[in-house]
Symmetry: C2
Subunit: 380 residues, 2 copies
């Protein structure tokens, strides 16, 4: 049996994701598909449209066998640390093959990882000029362009795999054209980019029924959809009432940013919009995405030592499974070194889950749905 891993955000789960799963099943008819999925806050520093429970359920209903959560300490991060956290968890779950969509399927990601293993992402100085310098260094060593986001993410998976003993067979698959960062829903395809789907959903102007499976349609119809618009009043309040020395404890707060973002906010007045504030704080040193990630960390009150603690000692949080997924869990359980969490008790909420538990409390202020106590994995 092939244990095939996928790293995903499913924001929301759409036909492109379905296509990827069907590709896996075509190539590996006996595959157990294991997905490590971001929770309620995502890689680009934004809340997920639908909560992790709905997205995990949609994945199971559409052919995935096991969904576990990537702790928020890894989710809201640049590609390298995001990838490392995800691959580390897939290793723990006995995954042998990794399928991932890229813009250039002909790239040799293993070789690229070998050639660039000494080029490290220095997360404390992650800014625009740094990101460009990093890509240039990669291109110099590999001879290929990695500026496209999924190629860069593919390389990050390959590097994490190399660092963790090359336990994975890497299987890049070609992304459909429409899956790139197009902001428009296509007219000639049933696959659209997740961001085009999100903006259609949030603007209520276009129907997305052609681009997502039925389970996603239902969840989108019946649930509160979250965006920064919902959390911005809370973030604004947090920044305004925090002292600069308190903001300084937040993960990713560097170089006096705590003064800059507080000062800009106070000057812009109570009616300022989230994106206008980010645009005002943005600079060559601090990119838009760096700032939305930092904004998420402030919103969640994620302190430097808390993030470091989870990065050192991750855990497996089960969000959903079917029979095959459960078997796979049982197969690897004895070998696992990480704690496995499928239900949350008071003790687990305090430790080790603390930060993710808090993220769930914050997310639930918008969704209205509890994220931890009383919740159990979806069984397909």
């Amino acid at each position: 049996m092939d244990i095939v891993g996928i790293v995903a955000e499913y924001n929301p789960f759409h036909n492109g994701h379905l296509y990827q799963i069907s590709e896996v099943k075509k190539r590996f008819p006996n595959a157990v598909i294991v997905v490590v999925m971001s929770g309620n806050f995502l890689e680009r520093g934004e809340p997920a449209l639908l909560d992790k429970w709905m997205r995990a359920k949609e994945a199971i209903l559409n052919g995935v066998n096991l969904v576990v959560e990537l702790p928020v300490a890894f989710c809201v991060q640049p590609a390298d640390l995001f990838a490392f956290g995800a691959i580390r968890i897939l290793k723990e779950l006995g995954v042998q093959k990794l399928v991932f969509g890229v813009e250039n399927v002909d790239y040799d990601f293993d070789k690229m990882a070998q050639l660039t293993k000494k080029v490290h992402g220095d997360f404390s100085t992650y800014n625009e000029s740094y990101a460009k310098a990093y890509q240039r260094a990669i291109t110099e060593r590999t001879g290929v362009d990695v500026s496209k986001p999924n190629n860069l993410l593919g390389l990050a998976y390959a590097k994490a795999n190399l660092e963790l003993g090359s336990f994975l067979e890497l299987i890049p698959i070609q992304r459909k054209k429409a899956e790139h960062h197009d902001q428009q829903l296509p007219v000639d395809s049933r696959i659209a980019s997740a961001s085009a789907i999100r903006s259609a959903v949030l603007s209520n102007k276009e129907l997305v029924v052609n681009f997502v499976p039925n389970s996603t349609v239902e969840d989108l119809q019946q649930s509160k959809k979250a965006s920064w618009t919902d959390f911005w009043p809370l973030l604004k309040y947090q920044i305004l009432t925090s002292k600069v020395q308190e903001l300084r404890e937040i993960y990713g707060m560097t170089e006096g940013l705590e003064f800059r973002l507080k000062d800009k906010l106070e000057r812009m007045g109570p009616a300022v919009a989230f994106t206008d504030w980010i645009d005002e704080v943005k600079s060559k040193r601090f990119t838009y995405t760096h700032l939305t990630r930092l904004a998420t960390m402030i919103l969640l009150q994620a302190k430097k030592d808390e993030v470091a603690q989870v990065v050192r000692s991750p855990y497996i949080r089960i969000l959903g499974f079917d029979d095959l997924g459960q078997k796979q869990l049982n197969n690897v359980k004895k070998k696992m070194t990480f704690p496995v969490i499928s239900r949350v008790s008071q003790k687990i909420a305090a430790n080790p889950l603390d930060l993710d538990y808090r993220a769930g409390l914050v997310y639930s202020q918008c969704s209205g749905q509890r994220q931890d106590f009383g919740r159990k994995p979806f069984q397909g």
Copy 2:
């Protein structure tokens, strides 16, 4: 010239307040009326319906000559400390007479203060049984019942006056019946209780035009009205993302309350209402009002040392004046020992205004109106 002081909240400014001002003018035709008014958060632990700038303007338009703000460190407090802060500020402003409404105008408040000066309000143990014991001790010494709220407040003014050298002539005036805690608007009077007016305004069910002057009607029509409903999402978020050791730094947090209020909130889930949560946390030790004051302190992130700092070193914040009021200010300016603030600069915002400046930022999240930078006193 008689310099007459009033301590007020004006939440909102209504015909009962107008009646009090006309009584002052009848008795002291040459009076300069100086009001020390709560800012945007009030004695019973709630946001003001309209912001302090509107309420100060209404007071000036209706005959008050000078309005200064009572710092929030004194506003959101039991009667004794509230009164002490207000009387201390009136002393600084050269006030000689204090007019205040009471239920029993025949009480000798000076004598009552003499008889009870050793009965102190211990604010750290302010709870139901304590409040009752305090009233019983007063009654034992004075022979009169002080359970009615304005009698008790009158005694608090008298005690503060005694403590500050008996510089004030105390002039209790009879409150109109409807000014008590009636929750209904009366049919046979143009004076209603502030709380009946507030609930009519917030429920949008009844017109309050008969019970407030025109200036209040206009402000109520044109402005966002604030209540706990607006600030509850922010408070909930603050409690859920704060660690217990952070909550412990908040002014008024005693006896493990930080665990209790966090735990109850988590258990009650994301949809819980403010009053339901308070009812759940409430106990014999912790009255409803104790908890709403504490809730306000959490909302404003008012730390123990910050409140103590303002109580030690108050200041005079000018909100509005007319010519007479300005003259009075000029007369006392040289003798004043407190800093006088009429416009807020960056430096003043940081110190000494810090806590009130933060309260303004929080309040403006609901009102949409800046409370400090760029605001200047209303000139009548």
